[in-house]
Symmetry: C2
Subunit: 317 residues, 2 copies
């Protein structure tokens, strides 16, 4: 937690240096969500990957860490338009504060800046070109993941494989890219770059499964999110899919639910072994992700990466 | 024209190779406007710039020409959402055929691919990194240009300088980038790269001024566009701005106009010398753009570039 907090502070300060003095309305809209501090998990992964490969390297290539966070922010701005979400990180969303055209352009500006930030890293040019390729392909995957997520809303027969592939693209790939780019720009071999990609992808999948569990089991007061909203909306989460596979029909619960009814669903799914199965699935993704890092020599950064991996599923919200 | 036609064919064939076999709905939506053949003026500028710098170089770096065209197409897909335009290149727009979320994502996918295409060019890695930086910064300018264009719709006091800066960003910068990237990836000096940037920017500004003249003076049957629509909509074109500067009030014409009334406006503006002034302004941008190319040795490609420059303002539609 200490490491994450200090990285988050560093990233915010760098963003202020890069973009703090915005003149136009569009550049203000682009900066608005960047300055609202998130957990900055992706820059932390980037930095730890770089330091685990070459100690002391990360200062030279921190613009690459910013590139990943800027890409993440671009996807949030556009996703909020598509999902018509009005709140993000506790603030009204960009298309609510400005308007939809400005939000589309603000996302585009952020995406453009991500590639300029990669070009700005103080690293070998061939590695920067490869980084551009990886970030470009990752971004296409993220868009495909968001498209699938929206398409799944109209379906009630999504398979576990389809769900896991959607989540890998929508969430996993950018965590993978964060570690892969940090390692790549710090001089890692292709094997190590690839290990970080898989590590991050698996962590991202576990993160999303854990999110589904939190949505169901944590009370609103703890999680800050509306409890059991996924079940109420009939969302095709891994919980819903595994329940369906075991013949448990959750469709009658697609309506307003009392606390007692939510408790009833939790008991039903717990007794069927589904909560335990899903928790084990998330843990298995963490474990297989962590196993990828055995390629690295021992270091303090490696230990921190393993801690981050556990944090992904042990967080309460 | 012959050169433009053969480049257009080559570019379309390359797009088919790269993206012809699309599996997902999103990648189909991304490909849809790419395959609708436009004039492909930007890839032609890229290729002529490369060949004028290093004969025989363009085959190695054609993916860079595609990157520019893909960037142009991405901006069209997003602009059509913002302006709610329903037709483009004679086909229904992406957000009409699919829907708005898919069109936002399709644009994002194209933008991501532009950078992957740059990375794919067979050129020196340092030059590719510089190309990424130029394309990223150009894209931010294009977004700023579109934002200004939309903001101007709510104003009736846009100055000529504001208009020209908007047009430089929205239209000029990508023509400049096309030539600059072709030259850069073919091994040009920074001075030559910069000369191509200014050449393209000035041509783009002239192109837009010429568009304003065509909108007013060409009959719908010739131009394929609704005659005098700019005047009817009260758009702040250079014609409207220069007229206002000379005390001519066009606001009474912001309504449906008969052919006779359009002729009356043309006569009014012609007698005030405004059509001649604007035509001279466009020609001056062509001339100052062309002057930048004096840095190049004589070649067939240089001659073709000068022909393209004249084409920008001599076209009838």
């Amino acid at each position: 937690m200490e490491y994450l907090t200090s990285t988050s502070k560093e990233v915010s300060e760098l963003f202020t240096c890069y973009y703090g003095d915005q003149k136009t309305e569009l550049s203000k809209a682009s900066y608005y969500l960047l300055e609202a501090e998130g957990k900055r998990l992706r820059p932390a992964m980037f930095k730890l990957a770089a330091e685990s490969v070459t100690p002391g390297s990360s200062n030279q290539i921190m613009s690459g860490a910013l590139a990943v966070e800027v890409t993440h922010t671009f996807t949030l701005v556009h996703d909020d338009i598509m999902d018509d979400d009005s709140l993000r990180r506790g603030r009204p969303t960009v298309h609510v504060v400005w308007n939809e055209p400005t939000a589309i352009l603000a996302g585009d500006v952020l995406f453009a800046r991500a590639f300029v930030l990669l070009a700005d890293a103080n690293a070998d040019p061939s590695r920067k070109v490869e980084a551009v390729r990886i970030l470009g392909k990752a971004s296409e995957d993220i868009c495909e993941g968001q498209q699938s997520d929206m398409a799944f809303e109209a379906r009630d027969d999504v398979s576990a494989d389809e769900y896991l592939e959607m989540v890998r693209k929508k969430t996993g790939v950018l965590y993978g890219t964060a570690g892969a780019l940090g390692a790549l720009l710090a001089g890692a071999s292709p094997e190590v770059v690839s290990a970080f990609m898989t590590f991050g992808e698996h962590l991202g999948i576990a993160f999303q499964i854990q999110d589904d569990i939190i949505d169901l089991t944590r009370e609103t007061a703890v999680s800050g999110k509306d409890q059991a909203s996924d079940i109420r909306e009939g969302k095709q989460t891994l919980i819903a899919i595994r329940a369906r596979e075991k013949g448990i029909d959750l469709t009658p619960y697609q309506r307003n639910l009392s606390s007692d009814e939510i408790q009833e669903i939790i008991t039903l799914l717990t007794e069927a072994g589904i909560i335990a199965d899903i928790t084990a699935e998330a843990q298995a993704y963490i474990d297989s992700g962590v196993a990828c890092l055995s390629i690295l020599p021992d270091s303090q950064e490696k230990e921190l990466l393993l801690d981050v991996a556990q944090f992904f599923i042990q967080r309460a919200y």
